[in-house]
Symmetry: C2
Subunit: 600 residues, 2 copies
C-alpha cells in the first residue's frame, strides 16, 4: 500500500547531501537501488536522477515498525526517508559522490511499491534493445540514459543562450505545412475540413526561414522537429531535431564565424573540451581527393593517393579500362597491415564491393621483403615499384587500390579507410576533430532523372567566379555551401542562398525547370522575393547526432527519450495503430490494403 | 538589378547608431521605408527589425551616380548605405530612437529591388487580415508584428532560463505518437510501413511526461507543439504551443510556488510589471458563486448575488420554477446603467440567450427614483424591495437576474458581466490581475454519455478528505487541480496526479470504465505505474495566449508567425493541398469524397 508524502518535504536530491551536511536532518525521496541486511543493519542505496546515497536503518535510530518496513523494501520501490547525515561508519566509497557520508534513517515511508522489473536498472545494460524499448520508462531510469538526456537538455539550453546573445530570435514555424514533391518523402496529414487534401510535416523549416529573412527578422533560429518518411537506418528516425538558423546581410565567413564560436562554446561548457579556432577548412575537392569523402574523419591519416600517373600504360585491364573511361586509380596504405590473413583481405574486398567497387587490388608488403599481390602478374616490376613508392609502402604495409570512375573510387576507398581505422583501433572517442567542407559542387548529374539536380537545394548560391560556367559547364560550378564535420560525421550544413531573380532563373534553367514548373513548386517563396529580399545564408545541425557524439554513443536512440525502431513503430505505445472507421469517414478516406505496401 | 554586398560588412542595426557615434563612418543595411527629395536633398528612412534611421543623400557627399540611384529608390528596396553619423541638421525627432542623428551617405548599393507591395508596411495596418495573411511575409515586416514575435522569442527564452535554474530538464517527446480515443479529435498521420495504421499528433505530452516522472527525471518541461483537429474559434489554432511541465515529490503548494515565481519573473523581465506574490487563490466554488466563471476577470467587481432566498415564495413563474427544479436565482448590478435604452437591454437579453438563458429579468432603477422592470407585475412590492436591497441597487443602476439550473445561471451572468464590462469600458489592458482557481470538481456529469467524465483527465488526484465520497457522491468530490487565470483568460492549468493503484481503480470505477477498458486506453501508463511511481504533479500553459495577453493583442494570430485561418488552411502556402496518387497508394489509402465532410 502506498503511503502519502503528506507533511514531508524533500530537502535535497540524493547526491546534494555531502560532508557539509553532517549532523543535519534531511528528507530524501527516490528509488531503492538495492538493500541488504548486514549484521542487523539494513543498508539501502537510494537513487534519484542525481545519483545514489547510502541510507542505514538500525534499531534504536528508527522504531521497530520502520525497521521492519525497511527490511521488506525491494528494488524500485519509491520511498521517502527522514534521517541524520553522518560520516560514513564503514570504508569511504571513493567511487560515489556521496561516498563519505551516510544517512541514518529516523523515518521511512513507502510511497510506491514495485513489481520486479523485467530487467535490472543498471549502467550499460546488457538487456537487448527491443525489451528495453518496450519498457522504455524503466530503461530511462538507467543512469547512462539519464546522463544523456540531461546532456541533451543542456546542449539545447546553451545553444539557445549563445544564439540569443548573438541577436538571434527563436521563431516557431508550422508543423502542419504544405507537402512538396521535392526531396525525401513527406509524412502526410489528412485534412478533415478539406477532405482529399493533406498537410505535409516539414522535412526542415527551409522555406519558412527564408521567408522570415524576407520579412526582416535578420537572425532566426529554431530547435525544430523535422520529419522524413524514409526507410530507417541506424542513425535515422522518422522525426528528428534540427538546430536551424538563418542570417541576413551575411556571406560564408560570417556564418562560419558565429557557428564555430557556438561549437567551441558548447564543447567547452558541456565537455570541457577546447575546440581550437578557427576550425580548419577544406574544399570539397580536397576532401574527396585526400579522404574519399565529403565528411572526412581527420583523427587519422591513411590518405588517398592518386596513382593514375604511375599505372598509365600498364597492362592490367582493370586499371587500364578505368583510366580509358576517364576514371582514376587510387590507393591507400594501411600501415603495418601487410601480414593481414588472406581471409581478412577477402572480407575487405567484399566490403569494397558493397560500396560499388568491381574489385579491389592489393599489395601486401611482407616484413621479410617479399610481396603478395592480387595483380602483380599483370604489372611490370618497375610499375609495381612505382606504385609502392607512390604510397610510401614499407615492409609490413598493406596497399589497397581501387580503379573506376572517380566517384566510385572515392566512395570505395573512403569507406575502406574508415573500416581499416576501426579494425586498427585508430578512432579515439575522446578526440574531437572538426573540419569545414566548402565549395561543394552546385549540381550533380542524376542518371535516373537524366538531368542535373541541386546538390543542396535549388536556392543555393553559386560562387560568383563560377557563375559564367552555369550554362557551358554546369557540373563544374561550385556552390557557396558548407558542411561542418566532426570525426567523420556531418554535424550540420548550409549555404548562402540565391537572392537575385536573374541568378535564380539561371539555376532553374540548369535544373531543367520551366518557369511554370519552378512556380508550381516554390511559388510563394518566389513571390516573396519580388518585394525586396536581403542577402541571406543559413545552416542546420542534427541535434540528435551532435548529442550522440558528445555523449560518445553509437546510436541516436540513446539520446532520444522515446525513439522509434526500424519499422518506424514505437515498441512502448504500439504506435502507429488502427483508428475508428468514423475517424476515417470524417477524413474522406478509405483503407485500400491491396494497394498498400506490405513490407515490414 | 541587384548589386552584391561584397566588400561591405554591416556595422550596426539601424537604431544601434546614436549620438555616441557622431563622426563615425557606419555601414547599415535594411529596407527603404520611404524617401523624398526636399530641396535637392534626398531623405531616406531606412528600416530593419530594430527600427528606423534617417539617411540623407546630398551631392558633394556622394557621387552623382549614387545620388541619382538614391532618387530612384522605392519602398521596400533593400539597400546598403555607407555614411557618416551626424547630428541631425533639421528638427530633432523625439519620437524616433535615432531622432537626434542622421547618416550622411557616402555610398549606396541596391541589394534588391522591390515591386510595389499589395499593402503598405506600417503599424496598425488597416488592410484586411485575409490579404495580410496571403502575403504574410510582407505583413511580418510590420513593426507591431515584429515586436510581438520578438516578445514571444524572449518569453520562451526567459521561461527556459527560469525553469533550468529551478532544476527542470527540457525533454522532447514524440510528435508521431499513438492516437487515443479520449478528448478532442486527433490529427492522424498514415503509416507507409504499416498501411492502414496511423500515428496521432499529440494533443499534449501528458502521458509522456507522467512516464518521465516514473523514469525519475524529477522535473521535466518542454515548450511543445500540440495539435487538435477541432473547429477553430478566434483563439484556437490547429497547432498551438504549450509550456508543459511536471514535477515529482510535490503537492499543490509546490507547483503553485514555482509557477507564480515564474510568472512574476516573466512579467517583470518582459513588461516591467510587478506581480504581487503570493497570487490570490480562490476555490472553484467561490469563483462560480461570485463571478459565474472558473476564469473570473478580477479587474472589476459586478459580482453575482444569490437572491434565491429573497424571491423564495414569489409568484413569478420563471423564478419559482427555477427554484423548484433545484436551481437558483442570481443577479448582478450594472452600476450607472439604469438609463440603458430598451433596445440595448433587449440585446443583452439576446446575448444571455446565447449562453443558454431562457430569458433575462431586469430592474432598471431610474435616476428619478422610478423603476422599469420586466417582471415587477408578478412581484410583491416588498419582494422587489428585497431584490434591490440584495443587490445594493441605487438610483441609476441596472439589475439583471437569471433563474435556472446553477450551471446556466453562472454561465449567463458570467458572460453578461463581461459583456457589460466591455460596454462600460472597465477592462484596462495595462492591469494584470492573476488568480489561482483551486478545488475543481473531480468529475462532471455528462448528459450525453450518461456517466461521469473527468473534468481535467482521469489521472487527476481527488482531495484526500473527499475520497470517501467517491462512491457515495462522486459529483461532490473535489480534485487537486488548479488553473492560473489572468484577466479572465485561462493561462494554464494542471493537477496533482493519482499515483496509487487503488485510487486509480476507484477513479476508473467512478468513470464507469471496466479494468479492461481502462487498460485498452492507458495500458502502457498503467503498466509503468507498477514499477514504482513517485507522487507527481504538473501544469501546462498556452504560450500563444500568454504572449497575446502580454502583447495586448486580441488574437493569437498576431503572435504566431504563420497562423492558419478558420478552415485550418494557410492562405500563404495554400496548405492543405492535393497530393500525388502515388503517395496515397504507398500509404494504402483511397480518397472517398462521397464520405467526406464538405463543410468549409
Amino acid at each position: 500500500m502506498a503511503e502519502s508524502m503528506k507533511g514531508l518535504k524533500r530537502t535535497h536530491r540524493c547526491t546534494e547531501v555531502s560532508k557539509a551536511n553532517i549532523g543535519e536532518t534531511v528528507t530524501l525521496m527516490g528509488w531503492v537501488q538495492k538493500n541488504r541486511n548486514k549484521g542487523g543493519i539494513i543498508f539501502l542505496d537510494l537513487r534519484d536522477r542525481s545519483g545514489i546515497v547510502q541510507v542505514i536503518f538500525e534499531e534504536g535510530s528508527i522504531d521497530a515498525a520502520g525497521f521492519e518496513k525497511a527490511g521488506r523494501l525491494r528494488s524500485e520501490f519509491v520511498v521517502a526517508v527522514v534521517g541524520k547525515v553522518e560520516a560514513r561508519s564503514g570504508a569511504v566509497n571513493e567511487k560515489m559522490a556521496t561516498g563519505e557520508i551516510e544517512i541514518r534513517a529516523k523515518q521511512l515511508r513507502v510511497l510506491s511499491e514495485a513489481e520486479t522489473p523485467p530487467f535490472p536498472v543498471e549502467e550499460e545494460s546488457k538487456t537487448k534493445e527491443e525489451l528495453r524499448l518496450k519498457y522504455r520508462y524503466l530503461d530511462l531510469r538507467r543512469p547512462d540514459l539519464q546522463r544523456n538526456l540531461m546532456m541533451r537538455s543542456r546542449v539545447a539550453m546553451l545553444t539557445r543562450r549563445f544564439l540569443e546573445e548573438e541577436g538571434f530570435l527563436e521563431i516557431e514555424t508550422p508543423v502542419l505545412g504544405k507537402s512538396t514533391p521535392e526531396g525525401a518523402r513527406d509524412y502526410l496529414v489528412p485534412s478533415r475540413v478539406h477532405p482529399g487534401n493533406f498537410y505535409g510535416l516539414p522535412q526542415s523549416p527551409q522555406l519558412y526561414k527564408q521567408l522570415l529573412m524576407c520579412s526582416g527578422y535578420d537572425r532566426y533560429f529554431q530547435i525544430a522537429k523535422c520529419f522524413r518518411d524514409e526507410d530507417l537506418r541506424a542513425d535515422r528516425q522518422p522525426e528528428f531535431t534540427q538546430i536551424d538558423m538563418e542570417l541576413s546581410f551575411v556571406d560564408v565567413d560570417d556564418v562560419i564565424d558565429v557557428n564555430e564560436r557556438m561549437l567551441a562554446y558548447l564543447f567547452r561548457e558541456v565537455l570541457g573540451v577546447e575546440v581550437p579556432l578557427p576550425i580548419q577548412r577544406m574544399t570539397w575537392q580536397e576532401a574527396m581527393d585526400r579522404f574519399g569523402s565529403d565528411k572526412p574523419d581527420l583523427r587519422f591519416g591513411m590518405e588517398l593517393t592518386d596513382v593514375s600517373e604511375a599505372v598509365k600504360g600498364c597492362e592490367f585491364a582493370v586499371f587500364k579500362n578505368a583510366l580509358e573511361a576517364g576514371g582514376s586509380v587510387r590507393g591507400i596504405n594501411a600501415k603495418g597491415q601487410g601480414g593481414m590473413p588472406r581471409k581478412k583481405i577477402d572480407k575487405l574486398v567484399d566490403y569494397a564491393k558493397d560500396y560499388g567497387a568491381k574489385g579491389l587490388a592489393y599489395i601486401a608488403l611482407q616484413e621479410d621483403g617479399s610481396v603478395k599481390s592480387s595483380f602483380a602478374k599483370f604489372m611490370k616490376e618497375e610499375e609495381m615499384a612505382g606504385l609502392i613508392a607512390a604510397l610510401e609502402g614499407k615492409p609490413g604495409d598493406l596497399l589497397l587500390f581501387a580503379a573506376d570512375k572517380n566517384k566510385v573510387v572515392w566512395d570505395v576507398l573512403g569507406a575502406l579507410r574508415l573500416e581499416l581505422a576501426r579494425q586498427m583501433e585508430l578512432l579515439d572517442k575522446e578526440e574531437y576533430r572538426f573540419v569545414w567542407i566548402t565549395e561543394f559542387p552546385l549540381l550533380e548529374w542524376s542518371e535516373e532523372q537524366n538531368r542535373f539536380t541541386a546538390m543542396h537545394h535549388p536556392f543555393t548560391m553559386p560562387m560568383e567566379e563560377d557563375l559564367p560556367m552555369i550554362k557551358t559547364n554546369p557540373g563544374a560550378v561550385r556552390a557557396k555551401a558548407y558542411d561542418i564535420v566532426l570525426n567523420g560525421t556531418e554535424l550540420g550544413g548550409g549555404s548562402v542562398r540565391i537572392f537575385q531573380n536573374d541568378v535564380q532563373e539561371m539555376m532553374f534553367e540548369a535544373l531543367g525547370f520551366t518557369k511554370e514548373e519552378a512556380y508550381e513548386r516554390f511559388g510563394f517563396l518566389l513571390d516573396a522575393f519580388k518585394y525586396g529580399v536581403p542577402p541571406h545564408a543559413g545552416l542546420a545541425y542534427g541535434l540528435d547526432r551532435m548529442v550522440m557524439l558528445m555523449a560518445k554513443e553509437d546510436s541516436i536512440r540513446d539520446v532520444i527519450a522515446f525513439p522509434k525502431v526500424k519499422d518506424a513503430s514505437c515498441l512502448m505505445t504500439q504506435a502507429p495503430g488502427e483508428v475508428d472507421e468514423v475517424q476515417l469517414r470524417e477524413l474522406g478516406l478509405k483503407i485500400d490494403r491491396a494497394e498498400g505496401q506490405t513490407e515490414q
